[in-house]
Symmetry: C2
Subunit: 494 residues, 2 copies
């Protein structure tokens, strides 16, 4: 039983087969991304001995690849929101997140997150994460400056704005340039070490150790090449990311995401999810994923319209870029066009980076229609209907907000090629283990699997529905619910 | 451990907690629908002692509610196909099924099914199921006569017809009226009893019994109100249907199906799937479901066009009714309209039964557009583009076949209301346990869980993708792969 190839994350090792424990701890955390860091930190501060296993030789995971944006608000607003006049209410944040996280939204998680997100902001700053008191009103993906507050979802767009008062809730840590996720992880990792967490790099969790009642007692790991049986008296927390880098799992569970050429992940081989399933943990939303294409900035692009390979619009274009891209990927066929006129079009370095190129241009929409081989009267009529109503300030088909409605009547007219199989669509998985807000993993009947916890993208968390994703909800979910799992374990004596 | 409420399908009972076996058998089959019947039959004929547990007081399950149609062909054609000139090739059947069963189609199952479906036809007739040598060329849902061969999929429609030579493959057993599934089950059930299978009705599988290596040794059941530990020396076959009657599972896994008001199922509480998951069985396609609305016959209706709540077409309407309905349910919003003109419209008793009613009528399409509150120029242009190309015998947008193209120019024009929340959309689940063709249940890493098998809708079988469903594939899959599991167990000595 000491040959690593004899272990599988999908098959637990029976407790009575463990001859001796090589390492004994209270809490074993698998994965040193944002969820692993915060759960280890809170568990250690609660008084637990914590061992954190990270398969890579450094910390960060996919969190460190992110923009470092955290979705926060409610309770009258964070200090940054309030500084710019956004008195964000908890109910508005709750309603927005409940609507946007899909038909099987987790109301309990959404409620907790909306109620405690201001507290979470203060906790993050207490850890040393700095936020500049600044606000970017314009549409952006993430700031290239060290600015903080941005609109990072579809709050101002239909149907969300009709049910919840909009507020910008994307809080980007103070870091010059894109990729503040690395900075956020650096700060959290320092706190983890200071809290006395026993961090093991180059440490892979090979299988869980469970007893006859499927209670989890620890895990088998390979640390620096050696098999180590690790006892976790209080529990194991799976924070090993999603499965975007596991093509076999994608093929079986989320084949649509294979259409996107740019997976965001580091390890993300689904091993955390597989470990959880091995003892009966239930998974949900395995086919869902975040998808995007940074088609704005500049904000003027939002005044353009998207059409599919039949020349049909399919979304109000003032939604968050990821919502629009998710709809694009759900269209039949590969062809997606972004139509702009001479007044709205602008070059963007983002477009070059993701291979969005002008596919056709003309002095009339008829010319563009012909050039991209759409049947006569399709694209032309789509634009005509849009223009006629836009001139009146309404969009009866998709309810795009008046601020973004402008008839596309100034030549030259262009169709930007946003083909799924050509452009650089970014994606990561949103499905995972079904958990309580405190991280306990549930079986398919809703019963708790003793000793097993999950957080971050190993769990199916707050963000679970690609079409409603908002930037900052994944890192927000990972850090906040990672903390809850850590607190639960820090305060539990088994 | 004898209180039934202390057992959960999601939590296996450890083998060493079993004090004594109340019943000992070679093979335990859970569920007496088509998959359970055929696996019990083949296992018993292979020499195994078989105990079949059925939770209801009679056999049949959802199979008995079906039209009794089985999708068969290939190998030059079944006798019925050949009698009407369809020399159906295995390769054409393979290609059609591979395309239509979705982006994560199981090529191995599709291959076996296409290659052995003629043999399966003969096996079914050998059991006593009769097929009349007759063929219905017209579009239908299922015959109200005792006729046999029908077009039960999208074989003649784009994109399938471009890649695979079409043939009708729906074989309906000889039974006057709809619902031949009851007849098919009656015949199979007689054979099951004759083969000496020990059938227990009013018998619920409460939990699996598994050892430390998650090998399944039997199950705990409640038979006529008494807890019984049942040892299955060779294995347990889960044939307990899907989860369409379990609203909690639907809410978590397939919330879209909750939009359909007519679930087809009997027990179908997902207990088979939950039993499999409890020992680490992997599930796939849990969000997928069959959906339909019998919008034809008469076939002339196919000459109409479907539009969504934005007046956009979304599918070539010459596809199988279930493919069209699946696309309808995937449209944003509830409104779906079927447009017909004076030449194509016909009353149908099916429409009344499923609450398809005329929502608007007019002498011009402009009138219809106004009456159903669509923005000016939307529906009218959709019809205009369709009509212009239909007059030339082409449909450049959706590739509807020429035979069904007719400009909709004869008043009165009508819009039939096919709203999802009003009409009687029928549905059942297609997600389930990931299995080998021989029924062995796989874990998330692809390893076999010893002693555990699944077939029918408890497994994710041949039909697994709602948008590509063809009638007769579910019953075909259940009977054929049920047989394979039974053969595997009949020939295995543990």
């Amino acid at each position: 039983m000491t040959n690593p190839s004899s272990f599988s994350p999908s098959c637990p090792v029976p407790l009575d087969k463990v001859r001796q424990w090589d390492i004994e701890t209270d809490v074993a955390v698998v994965g040193f991304g944002a969820a692993g860091a915060t759960s280890a930190l809170e568990a250690a501060r609660g008084g637990a001995r914590v061992t954190l296993l990270e398969v890579a030789s450094g910390n960060g995971g996919a969190s460190a690849l992110s923009g470092g944006e955290i979705y926060m608000g409610g309770s009258g607003g964070t200090p940054i929101q309030r500084a710019f006049g956004f008195e964000d209410s908890t109910e508005d944040m709750y309603r927005y997140l409940l609507m946007s996280t899909g038909p099987n939204a987790d109301a309990e998680k959404v409620r907790l997150y909306a109620e405690n997100s201001l507290e979470h902001y203060h906790w993050l700053t207490t850890q040393g994460i700095e936020y500049k008191t600044s606000y970017i009103a314009e549409r952006c993906i993430e700031p290239i400056t060290d600015d903080c507050l941005i609109w990072s979802g579809s709050e101002e767009a239909w149907p969300f704005a009709q049910k919840a008062k909009p507020a910008p809730r994307g809080h980007v840590a103070k870091f010059v340039g894109m990729g503040a996720g690395r900075y956020v992880m650096d700060v959290l990792a320092r706190r983890v070490v200071e809290a006395g967490v026993d961090v093991r790099y180059n440490a892979r969790a090979l299988a869980l150790v469970a007893d006859h009642n499927r209670e989890v007692h620890g895990l088998v790991s390979r640390i620096d090449g050696e098999i180590r049986f690790l006892r976790a008296r209080r529990g194991v927390v799976l924070c090993a990311g999603g499965f975007i880098m596991n093509r076999d799992m994608l093929k079986r569970h989320a084949p649509r995401l294979l259409r996107c050429s740019n997976p965001i992940g580091t390890v993300d081989d689904g091993s955390g999810i597989r470990l959880g399933m091995s003892v009966g943990g239930s998974t949900i939303n395995m086919s869902e994923g975040f998808t995007t294409l940074p088609w704005y900035p500049p904000g003027s692009m939002v005044k353009g319209i998207f059409v599919n390979g039949r020349g049909q619009r399919f979304i109000n274009e003032d939604c968050y870029h990821g919502r629009v891209a998710n709809y694009a990927v759900q269209q039949d066929g590969d062809r997606i066009w972004l139509l702009q006129d001479g007044a709205t079009y602008a070059e963007s370095p983002y477009h070059k980076a993701v291979r969005m190129e002008i596919g056709a241009a003309g002095d009339t929409w008829e010319e563009v229609e012909r050039e991209i081989n759409l049947p006569e009267g399709t694209l032309v009529n789509t634009v005509a209907v849009y223009n006629r109503y836009a001139a009146q300030g309404v969009d009866p088909l998709f309810n795009k907000a008046a601020a973004w409605l402008k008839p596309l009547v100034e030549p030259p007219f262009v169709a930007i090629d946003c083909r799924i199989d050509h452009c650089f669509y970014t994606t990561f998985t949103l499905g995972g283990l079904d958990t309580l807000p405190t991280g306990e993993v549930k079986d398919e009947d809703g019963a708790i699997i003793p000793g097993l916890f999950a957080a971050g993208r190993t769990a199916c968390g707050l963000p679970r529905f690609g079409a409603g994703y908002s930037s900052g909800t994944s890192l927000g979910d990972a850090t906040y619910f990672g903390r809850l799992a850590g607190k639960r374990l820090g305060s539990t004596l088994k």
